[in-house]
């Protein structure tokens, strides 16, 4: 598939889950492809990083479901902050563990899963539709009934994949990418390098094969497709670029220059512009 092909299968108004964590192994090439499209009114479910920031900056997000948005080495995401402070983005704010449980419930085709997280906190106040449930056993403990977070589509980025949708992560953390796929109706995987199936196991242990072809509907090879987030061991986060991104976000003129420099062309032009910028 192509990036545009994936985006062509998405629709405005969909609920889209985005893999990775903060500013780590985000499917940024797909996010950039969404920015080039006219998709809008999205509900985004994410352990948020610059994926959320960019989509919010372009006004594509109606509702965000998350526990945080951060660039990790830059703690606060400037576009997300502005969207919240200007009231242009609706937020479903849950504990990180609740988000995990919501994906796990959806992956298991359960309506909800009980969890202790959330009790006593204002997560229940700001999400008035959240319910608690009492244990039917002797203990009678009250727990939060975290509803399944069903996704229309999941977008993830891994290190390697074959063309059938078998995907492999080579870094130390799978994040929740397999769960995002299992929670979704349509599943799209971008990868650093597309390889023959028999090369997968040569590249890492069997447990690095995080997703298999029944969990994935489309594969696109996008070298440096997680840039500027990290995609170890292929590359670390581009800290200098991330700082430039965060700085530009603070000022309207600087942001329009950043957009013009990086985001108005296609993915190839983006990657070429990044290389040019790193040489100067």
């Amino acid at each position: 598939m192509s990036l545009a092909g994936v985006v062509g299968e998405l629709r405005s108004g969909m609920t889209i889950g985005i893999g990775g964590w903060g500013s780590r192994r985000k499917p940024m090439a797909l996010v950039r492809a969404i920015l080039r499209s006219d998709l809008t009114d999205l509900t985004v479910v994410s352990y948020g990083g610059p994926d959320v920031g960019l989509l919010a900056a372009y006004g594509r997000v109606r509702r965000l479901v998350t526990g945080f948005v951060s660039l990790d080495s830059v703690p606060l995401e400037p576009h997300f902050r502005r969207a919240r402070q200007e009231g242009t983005l609706e937020l479903t704010e849950v504990d990180e563990g609740m988000l995990y449980w919501g994906l796990l419930a959806a992956a298991n085709r359960l309506p909800f899963l009980p969890i202790r997280a959330g009790l006593g906190s204002d997560v229940l106040r700001v999400n008035p539709s959240l319910r608690t449930i009492r244990s039917p056993y002797e203990d009678g403990e009250e727990l939060v009934a975290m509803p399944a977070l069903r996704l229309d589509a999941a977008l993830i980025h891994l290190n390697r994949a074959d063309r059938y949708g078998n995907g492999q992560y080579l870094g130390p953390d799978p994040y929740f990418d397999d769960l995002f796929c299992q929670a979704a109706t349509r599943r799209y995987l971008t990868c650093e390098r597309l390889v023959d199936t028999k090369e997968l196991l040569a590249g890492g242990p069997p447990q690095s094969l995080l997703v298999n072809r029944m969990m994935v509907d489309g594969v696109v090879e996008t070298p440096r497709g997680a840039h500027f987030t990290s995609c170890v061991p292929d590359y670390d986060r581009d800290e200098a670029f991330q700082r430039a991104y965060a700085k530009a976000a603070g000022d309207e003129e600087a942001w329009s220059r950043f957009r013009a420099a990086y985001l108005e062309g296609d993915e190839t032009e983006y990657q070429e512009a990044v290389i040019r910028a790193s040489l100067t």
Partner: protein, 235 residues
């Protein structure tokens, strides 16, 4: 060999994990991190520490794998003691790191609740505040992320300590309101009271926070923090 304020804070943070045994210490911030490492090097050798990514580290050696999803398992099992930051903290230990102002349209959007709701109802939690001020220590937090003692925290809820650049605080009072436990050398009780935006329980004869031992100072300076990152957090 006089200890700096930052070094006193490192030791005060370390003390939060004393007696915790073989559990995961999760420090957020430079000085809590140094505190946890110091504790493990000295009086709490059984503590586990992650590298902030997916490895459990025994010094420079990887001793285990702990990706994010496994951290939630540790949280639920209760075998963890986290020291989090706080943008706001109230007298019963409710913590806010999400947003300041009206949540519906915040004056200042911060990180989000992160794992604070789950942490505080599952295992011991302490807090680190590098700048003790009435902006942080407020009468009422705008968004309860970490659960305090005046709410239904449940059977696993415990807020152990609050360490700041001025003092150490705890909740060892009949109504579990915040209490001044010790003041750092060079800080007066009235300094702390003035920097706190709610009435603080102040017992008679507040002691001074203990000074680092010579061995602890040597560890901090020569081994754990040769670049003096601690001085950036508490100048």
């Amino acid at each position: 060999m006089d200890a700096s304020r930052a070094e006193v804070c490192v030791v005060a943070c370390a003390e939060a994990w004393r007696g915790d045994g073989e559990i995961l210490a999760s420090p957020m911030g430079i000085i809590p991190r140094l505190g946890a490492e110091l504790a493990r090097h000295t009086f709490a050798p059984d503590l586990l520490l992650s590298d902030g990514e997916a490895y459990l580290m025994a010094g420079d050696t990887v001793e285990g794998w702990l990706p994010y999803r496994a951290v939630f398992g540790v949280v639920a099992a209760g075998t963890r003691h986290v020291m989090m930051g706080a943008s706001q903290l109230d007298r019963f230990g409710n913590q806010n790191i999400s947003a300041v102002g009206d949540w519906a349209r915040p004056r200042s959007q911060l990180l989000g609740v992160r794992g604070a709701p789950g942490n505080t109802v599952n295992h011991p939690t302490s807090y680190w505040v590098p700048r003790h001020s009435p902006r942080v220590f407020v009468e009422r937090v705008d968004m309860v992320c970490g659960v305090g003692y005046d709410r239904a925290g449940g059977r696993f809820h415990e807020i152990r300590l609050v360490v700041t650049n001025l003092a150490v605080l705890d909740f060892d009072t009949p109504d579990r309101a915040m209490r001044l436990r010790s003041v750092h050398p060079g800080v007066s009780v009235s300094d702390v009271v003035a920097a706190t935006g709610f009435p603080l329980a102040v017992p008679d004869g507040v002691p001074e926070t203990r000074l680092p031992t010579a061995a602890e100072l040597a560890l901090i300076r020569d081994r754990l923090d040769r670049d003096a990152r601690r001085d950036r957090e508490v100048p």
